[in-house]
Symmetry: C2
Amino acid sequence: MTVFKSKILDISTRSRLILLNAQRAEQLGITTHDRARLMKDELSVPAIVNTSETFVAPDEVGVFLDTAKELGIAEGDMVTVNLLPPPTSVQYIRKKMRGEKLAKEEIDYIIKDAVDRALSDIEVTAFITAEQYHGMDMDEVEALTRAMVNHGTKMDFERPVFDKHSLGGIPGNKVTLLIVPIVAAAGLLIPKTSSRAITSPSGTADTMSTLAPVDFSASELKKIVTRTNGAIIWGGSLNLAPADDIFIGVEYPLQIDPEPQMLASIMAKKLAVGTDYLVLDLPVGREAKVETPEQARSISNKIIELGERLGMKVKCGLTYGGQPVGYSVGPALEAREALLALEGRGPSSLVEKSTALAGLLFELAGKAARGRGQDMAKEILASGKALVKMREIIEAQGGNPNVRPDDLPVGEHKAEILAPFDGYITRVSNRAISAIARAAGAPMEKGAGVVFYGKEGHKMQKEEKMLEIHAERESRLEEAYQLALKLKPMTLEGMLLQEIPEL
Amino acid sequence: MTVFKSKILDISTRSRLILLNAQRAEQLGITTHDRARLMKDELSVPAIVNTSETFVAPDEVGVFLDTAKELGIAEGDMVTVNLLPPPTSVQYIRKKMRGEKLAKEEIDYIIKDAVDRALSDIEVTAFITAEQYHGMDMDEVEALTRAMVNHGTKMDFERPVFDKHSLGGIPGNKVTLLIVPIVAAAGLLIPKTSSRAITSPSGTADTMSTLAPVDFSASELKKIVTRTNGAIIWGGSLNLAPADDIFIGVEYPLQIDPEPQMLASIMAKKLAVGTDYLVLDLPVGREAKVETPEQARSISNKIIELGERLGMKVKCGLTYGGQPVGYSVGPALEAREALLALEGRGPSSLVEKSTALAGLLFELAGKAARGRGQDMAKEILASGKALVKMREIIEAQGGNPNVRPDDLPVGEHKAEILAPFDGYITRVSNRAISAIARAAGAPMEKGAGVVFYGKEGHKMQKEEKMLEIHAERESRLEEAYQLALKLKPMTLEGMLLQEIPEL
């Protein structure tokens, strides 16, 4: 146990770190990445040691701002530092690395330490890659899900909670903006939390944010749904299953998504808000997250079993995911299309998919007989009740309830891609459309995105507009346009796809 | 491309980081762990973005001291920051994660980026664990070895270079302190670079450091061996295969040592100093790194094949590794035992092992006929020439050439473990001895360690001293003694090993 003077540093780090003088650390037999307990009065936290040659003096310890706040440490305060062995959870991570099954207590330790930021990036990566290589059985996935819920905020709405989740990967998937008001209009509680885009041009939270604020605390969410039965908010401020963000921080740069983690991630966020009935939308198709119906059925069976273990009734709906949903991609463009659909002016593919999924929730709830849910959803949509409900939700979240589709701030800079000859559209590439919309500025620039004037099977005339790119800035438009010329996001039958050698 | 004002931070980070204001980064569409290129005038480096709420202002970029020095950036200098895609090498890491074979150019990219600190801990961990799970074939191991050498300092002694390596894991293995002077006394060049202990009570560099300084640059090493033919130095300042340290930084906390990485690590350090002839000591036994002769033969065959591919002649010697080497463990205690052996007063097991390995080098060199090398080594040792050579080496490295075994500063605080009854020693545990010596303060406290008064097969009388613990501080002695009572590092035939339930 050694006493140090605190020096506060405001740098955000994923693991909880403290900074010791390099020479002093060597004298104490402490090396970078050793563990230590930082103590101030009765409060203490474990931390990972980093060292600096000159930034901290031999008698100083660098404490990062969030840790300083937590322990009530001010600049210059005396604190103590104790060398610790690595946390027990590191042993369990190594056990999974050897391919052994983990007990639920072992998984709980890992999640607790991850949330406490007591694990280094190295250890979190080792855990996620071990899941990727060795998999987990359903006992482990259940334990993982429960641990992720337990080490985070849990909500209780004191009524049955309905929810919907899309497996993602498909640009333009604005169905949540239809499903939530349809379901809420039927009197069911649907407090939908969504994510912002990580790799896509618009997450549901990004799209909704063009209509109303989406950043709320747990108590604010409760107030909103008490008034309206429904909400569409960003889940980031609720601290639901916070381990998930830590794991995503590793999965994203490595572009991996181990199945046990994917299952636990979906179900933990639902369990944390007390979901009783869940419909899972599984888009299947080329360049979707799930490419074959077999894979989709396998995931469905696992999600349903996991739901049973967690006391949640789940229905999975396989949907066509081989091209974008609807005719627009990008936050404001998608919100506009969703509003148009609520007004009865939406594309039939969007309406069909949204009402089909809402209908499954009605059937789960016993509100509609098996096979009759979609009709009920379509009636609510056609009656205008879903539109009224959406305006209530927008108002409850602090947006303008009278917003019109044309009010939405779509990027002014536009470029068009025309059909080079007469022909049928054979393909609209999810991946290329996402890349072009992101190049145009989505999701950060809300008005950026892509509008299609045809989808697979449509007949185009030569020189007819196939695609329109919107951007808020001329420079992004040019970048997106050049990318569109290169990626050829829409294919006409007979189109030359590549020349070899390329010019 | 955005211009920022520099703010210099002296914190050592394993990856090369820059720090942006969190709000500004969000506006620019940059998130934590994105890549950016930091530029000052014509110089630039890639870096990984971290963000801070308040430590840097929106118009500032935090630059860590080593990067600032490299690019010649002073506090307040204007620099530019460009968003970059992840380095190509991340694609190759993902390729290995999928279990595919990597081309040599792909491996070279990974090593280059690791050494440039352009990879995050997440990516380095993903690479090492992928090696662990998927393995590598000999083409990949060769490419890995060459890449590790090429991205680091290479030495050329303009004469045939001889070298020796022990696979490690055995406490008390001070054979290098005998082999180097024996081989150098025969006129062969043996510039031995060693490591400090990571998990053991004393690395060869720690042991040698009680006799002479061990921290030298490449040019200083050349000067030393020009005078003496031999040296025993710490390899850490030479920048030989620097990727190795980066990988060890991941392997150590996870306690893994993937075979391809182990092979490349050994051979890269040898190739970098231009080794032509190598003897590899493979201790085999319980609690050694290699536990079975089959495993040792498999590693030997791979090392020999790798040597052939690299133009290096290799002989492997399997040695008994089921208990510590000699009768002492800990830096000063081991140096004392090595000096005694050079004076002709060492234990025969230590002399046998050292001369056997030195003899293999003589046979490789053509200095001795097959089967006659050990005799030659024993003659050199018995003649006193090895002792004279060792004193030359100590002097050339700046130590006291007249040092006597009793001059070495052995810890004053001592505790003994006595034999509880008459009996034969059936086991001396490598792992327990290491743990006790480390608890006593080794390797940081040079005088700390353990001395045995018997090894496997020795007959002990009741109350006879079996083991002595040395420490520089009373508190460490007590800790080590309590650990020794718990771990029972030496076993007598018939000894009760555990009581259940334990008290």
